[in-house]
């Protein structure tokens, strides 16, 4: 597998993009097929593993981008690190966790899980761009369903919601509902 020219082209595109872009756009801009784009990205990922490289492929949802290597972050953070907004309160974080793990989820469903009306917390999370409305539930009143945003993934350094921290098996067993 060579793909020399193709790698150069995709690298240049990713350099110019800054934010992760999906395969379709990469194919459109480069004029390569999506299949080739996919292979090129894998090849680049491999190349970037070299210790002499300071950037790496980052993935966010279905997008692919470039970014400085994780291993270098510590050295870079003084100059390029941006502190996240103030940390979330326990109540906000609890609401966010419920939405993250159970999305799509409606307000009454969140309330039912928390045992507390979550309106203020939902408003807060919406305003911080961490959650968004992602649809309406096919139920009486067609309540709004919430889910997490890209910004949420970015702020929590996650590639996708599949990356959310998991309970280990023992704990999973403990929380089985029909225990």
């Amino acid at each position: 597998m060579e793909l020399t020219q193709e790698k150069a082209l995709i690298e240049a595109i990713l350099y110019l993009e800054s934010e992760p872009v999906d395969e379709r756009r990469l194919a459109g801009v480069s004029g390569l097929s999506r299949e080739v784009v996919r292979r090129v990205i894998e090849a680049l990922e491999e190349d970037y593993r070299s210790e002499a490289r300071g950037i790496e492929i980052t993935r966010l949802e279905d997008g692919v981008g470039l970014g400085p290597k994780r291993a270098l972050w510590e050295k870079l953070k003084d100059h390029y690190g941006k502190r996240r907004d103030a940390k979330l309160s326990k109540a906000a974080l609890e609401t966010l966790s419920i939405i993250a793990y159970a999305q799509p989820i409606t307000r009454p469903e969140v309330e039912n899980l928390r045992g507390v009306a979550p309106d203020n917390m939902i408003r807060l999370l919406l305003s911080r761009g961490l959650i968004k409305e992602i649809g309406r539930k096919d139920a009486p009143g067609r309540p709004v369903q919430y889910g997490t945003t890209r910004e949420f993934l970015k702020q929590f350094h996650l590639e996708s919601i599949a990356d959310l921290p998991k309970l280990d098996e023992v704990e999973e067993e403990r929380f089985k509902l029909d225990g």
Binding site: L16, A91, E94, K154, K176
Partner: protein
């Protein structure tokens, strides 16, 4: 023992509990009982006790806490006073609450994982400029596409924006300047030239005057030398050096 417990409970700040489920979980844990077999009477008693004490404090979700209290009392009554047709397979009245508690416990655990994640991602590394574009040289074709008329239009619209007074001064200056520039150009392209070369419109007095002023200026600044071989003859102009 209850006294001691109460004292203990009071050490927990009220907002320590995110809601009634949180409080219940705390009480269950403290009593070291199996969540699947909650001694409902005892837990209800502790719950109400806590609530009584907490009522004097402004508890955010106080109504939610009372709602749970009524649920607990209802379950307690069901447990203590089994219905006349209580069958073996009838559902445990505690079941729904237990399920809720277990599920809530699960999310609490997940929240603590998220909290760790949050600590780890206290900051993000950001690129300085979000959208780099290709450097300016790529705009070559933009320059090629403008012509002298664009220049004229641009210049005349600048002129229009100026007051007559400023334009007046400028126009006068432009003419002399124009001749000065022409002198430079001829020096570069021809080396030597005639005064009459500088005059574009012979019928224009201004043109002649400006050309004349320009050569005087150029001589003064030692850019040119003038040669004239006879009176009223054409003036030859050459570089000072």
């Amino acid at each position: 023992m209850p006294e001691q417990q109460q004292e203990q409970a009071q050490h927990f700040r009220v907002n320590e509990f995110e809601g009634p489920l949180d409080l219940l979980l705390f009480l269950i844990k403290r009593s070291e009982v199996d969540i699947h077999d909650i001694p409902i009477a005892e837990i209800t008693r502790q719950y109400l006790e806590y609530l009584e004490w907490a009522a004097s404090i402004d508890l955010d979700n106080i109504t939610d806490f009372y709602l749970m209290a009524s649920t607990l009392l209802y379950i307690k009554s069901r447990v203590l006073l089994p219905g006349e047709d209580a069958a073996e397979d009838e559902e445990d009245p505690r079941q729904e609450l237990i399920q809720k508690l277990i599920e809530y416990q699960r999310y609490k655990k997940l929240t603590s994982l998220m909290d760790e994640q949050q600590q780890e991602s206290e900051w993000v590394i950001e690129r300085k400029k979000k959208q780099p574009v290709l450097p300016f040289e790529d705009d070559d074709d933009l320059w090629v596409r403008i012509d002298v008329w664009d220049l004229l239009k641009s210049f005349s619209s600048i002129m229009e924006g100026l007051s007559d007074e400023r334009v007046f001064d400028l126009y006068e200056e432009v003419s002399v300047n124009e001749k000065l520039s022409l002198i430079d150009e001829f020096l570069e392209t021809k080396g030597e030239f005639l005064f009459t070369d500088l005059i574009q419109r012979r019928e224009s007095v201004m043109d002649v005057v400006c050309a004349f002023l320009a050569i005087l200026e150029a001589v003064k600044s030692r850019r040119i030398r003038l040669y004239q071989n006879r009176m009223f003859g054409d003036i030859r102009i050459g570089s000072w050096n």
